[in-house]
């Protein structure tokens, strides 16, 4: 398990929380919480691939956020003198069928592709948290009902369910976010519920209840913080799935509508010219793959760091 060397400069000795000798300092409320995340960060740091994934992902996000500054051209400006050109000094990644600069479109498109991922996870996580918390904490028929509804959502393959939801909502970026978020709800609800079931009867929750704490306070102050680890891991990996699904909806023509740039939609457009200009398909796909790969690496590392017991 913890064969890690005891770090000398890690600050105050009470940081190492449950030292057998310590009596009074261990009771100080903030100390263990801080050291938990400190430990997680320390373990994560040694996971080189995870750190690399995080760094590259942060770079990708920064580049997308800075698109207005970084992009050399207007992403939607047509220039019919330079259609479907290969990479050159003027256009580093070439141009598409309207003569638009692919680099600029990738930077601007990244804003949409990445924000779908984040917003969809926020929707799925938010609703999943409520459903899971209510289900796990209340139990009984309510739990049963909610979980059966989740089972039904899980009975659809995720891409297909997202498409089905889009068929009701209509097309567009915001609707794609909602559709992908809805598809993700059961995954979060199940994890939250499972964590709550395992914590619900623990001594400190019983103690809080005996102390007269309200249900809401027990749930938000005592149970959820201790159920965070698996939820955070799931959300990280869930973001990568959401980005993939968003790209898929864009590719099918259901997400972002033209002329807006988005990685999946760019690929759909590029497919029509694949015989003449196969390079146009390369870069948007590479960006999706790179983003998802980074998030997967980071998520795997985070899982190991948050729960060393899981690491076989």
């Amino acid at each position: 398990m913890s064969s890690e060397p005891i770090p000398a400069p890690a600050g105050a000795p009470l940081g190492s929380g449950a030292a057998p000798g310590s009596t009074v300092p261990a009771l100080v409320a903030e100390a263990p919480e801080e050291s938990l995340w400190g430990q997680v960060w320390k373990r994560l740091r040694r996971h080189r691939l995870a750190v690399a994934g995080l760094v590259v992902f942060v770079l990708l996000v920064t580049a997308s956020v800075a698109a207005p500054v970084l992009a050399p051209y207007n992403p939607d400006a047509n220039d019919y003198t330079v259609q479907l050109q290969g990479p050159s000094r003027a256009h580093w990644l070439g141009t598409d069928d309207f003569g638009r600069d692919i680099l600029s479109r990738i930077l601007w498109g990244g804003r949409r592709s990445l924000s779908v991922g984040v917003v969809a996870v926020a929707i799925g996580l938010g609703l999943g948290l409520v459903v899971g918390a209510v289900s796990g904490y209340a139990g009984g028929w309510l739990d049963n009902l909610l979980m059966r509804i989740m089972d039904i959502l899980l009975a659809f393959p995720s891409v297909l369910l997202a498409i089905a939801v889009m068929s009701i909502l209509g097309r567009g970026l915001g609707k794609a976010m909602i559709a992908i978020g809805i598809v993700a709800i059961p995954h979060y609800a199940r994890i939250v519920r499972a964590s709550i079931l395992s914590i619900r009867e623990s001594d400190y929750v019983v103690a809080a209840r005996a102390g007269g704490a309200s249900h809401f306070r027990i749930l938000t102050r005592h149970i959820l913080p201790n159920a965070m680890a698996p939820i955070i891991v799931r959300a990280t990996l869930g973001t990568s799935e959401a980005i993939l699904e968003a790209a898929a909806l864009g590719f099918l023509g259901l997400g972002v509508q033209p002329p807006d740039a988005e990685w999946g939609a760019m690929l759909a457009r590029a497919q029509e010219y694949i015989r003449v200009a196969p390079h146009v398909t390369a870069f948007p796909g590479l960006m999706i793959t790179l983003t998802v790969l980074c998030l997967n690496l980071f998520g795997d590392g985070l899982r190991d760091a948050l729960d060393p017991r899981l690491k076989a």
């Binding site: 089972d151 039904i152 009975a155 393959p157 068929s167 009701i168 099918l252 196969p278 998802v292 076989a312």
Partner: protein, 336 residues
């Protein structure tokens, strides 16, 4: 065992009802058939008449009951695009999707298990490292992009295999009169090799693109599962008896290591059915996934609805089958 299967079947019923309820609600929210049937210039009176005629003024539970009765008779309504019954549209396309998906499963099991076993036997070798990185990339890649890359390399650059479609139209006209829509299976059974080769040639790239992510998962699962099994006592015993390493790995270890792999494969069926939507769109294959996308883009609600419903049913039944087979494969699992 039998009681488990029965109970598992009973537990499926609420899920199936739920699926039909979702589909019914989606249909009543999105699809007002009156304007579709009468056209845009119908008078309000005629629309009201038609609504009564179609039972749209009945209470919702009554409508749902009628919907279920129709469903039980295989009546999913008619497509707004083609006017044909939805069930016939799907029956013509679903076999293509099934063949594509099964091909992808076969590919991912063969490739995934082979790579996983070699990786485990030669743990930390260059092969292990490269294939595990490949597996990571494999699960991170959008299927449709992999499809496009394959198209750019094989048909476009090298001039082999096919960009789209399921069979050469010329061939379909001259030497193939299919009785079913399972082209690949039928040409194999009737030993029509020319057609078989042609259809298989059309399906190689799509099934490979579809299989990539599952192959990666199967490879990772096989590797970790085999590494776990190899450390167990009965393997030590087998080695101590002086059995050859080959016999130990392939006869003793692999058998048990493959049990969790089997579950992964079963669970992948659903993902593959979803992935078929993307693969079929990329390669213009006339399967049910392409049909679903066309139907959505055309606003053909009854067709979308029917497809989603049937695929969800197929998914639930496959999962049921996997659960049951799992218990049969691994007698240590007790269903109580």
């Amino acid at each position: 065992m039998l009681s488990y299967i029965l109970r598992r079947l009973l537990m499926t019923i609420p899920v199936l009802l739920g699926i039909t309820l979702v589909s019914f609600m989606a249909l009543s929210v999105t699809a007002d058939p009156t304007s579709a049937i009468l056209g845009q210039h119908a008078t309000l009176e005629r629309m009201a008449d038609l609504r009564t005629q179609l039972g749209l003024d009945d209470p919702i539970p009554v409508q749902y009951y009628h919907y279920l009765v129709k469903l039980a008779h295989g009546d999913l309504g008619r497509s707004w695009m083609t006017r044909a019954p939805v069930i016939t549209e799907i029956a013509q396309r679903f076999p293509h999707t099934v063949e594509l998906t099964v091909l992808a499963v076969i590919l991912s099991v063969i490739l995934g298990v082979a790579v996983g076993v070699i990786s485990a036997v030669k743990q930390y070798s260059w092969f292990d490292n490269v294939s595990m990185i490949g597996a990571l990339v494999g699960v991170s890649m959008p299927i449709f992009w992999l499809g496009l890359v394959l198209i750019a390399i094989f048909p476009v650059k090298l001039g082999i295999l096919h960009v789209s479609g399921l069979i050469d139209p010329k061939l379909a006209l001259t030497s193939f009169e299919p009785k079913t829509h399972f082209y690949l299976t039928e040409s194999l059974v009737t030993a029509n090799w020319e057609v078989f080769r042609n259809v298989l040639g059309h399906l190689v790239l799509p099934s490979f693109a579809l299989a990539a992510a599952s192959t990666a998962l199967v490879a990772r699962m096989t590797r970790s599962s085999l590494l776990e099994v190899v450390n167990q006592d009965y393997i030590r015993t087998a080695r101590a008896k002086g059995l050859s390493e080959r016999l130990v790995v392939y006869k003793h270890a692999l058998k048990n290591a493959l049990i969790p792999v089997f579950t992964v494969v079963g669970l992948q069926f659903g993902a593959l059915l979803g992935g078929a939507v993307l693969t079929e769109t990329t390669f213009s294959l006339p399967g049910v996934g392409k049909l679903a996308v066309d139907a959505i883009l055309n606003g053909d609600m009854p067709l979308v609805n029917g497809i989603v419903l049937l695929v969800a049913l197929a998914f639930v039944l496959v999962n049921l089958l996997v659960d049951v087979l799992y218990g049969w494969l691994d007698p240590r699992i007790h269903y109580s």
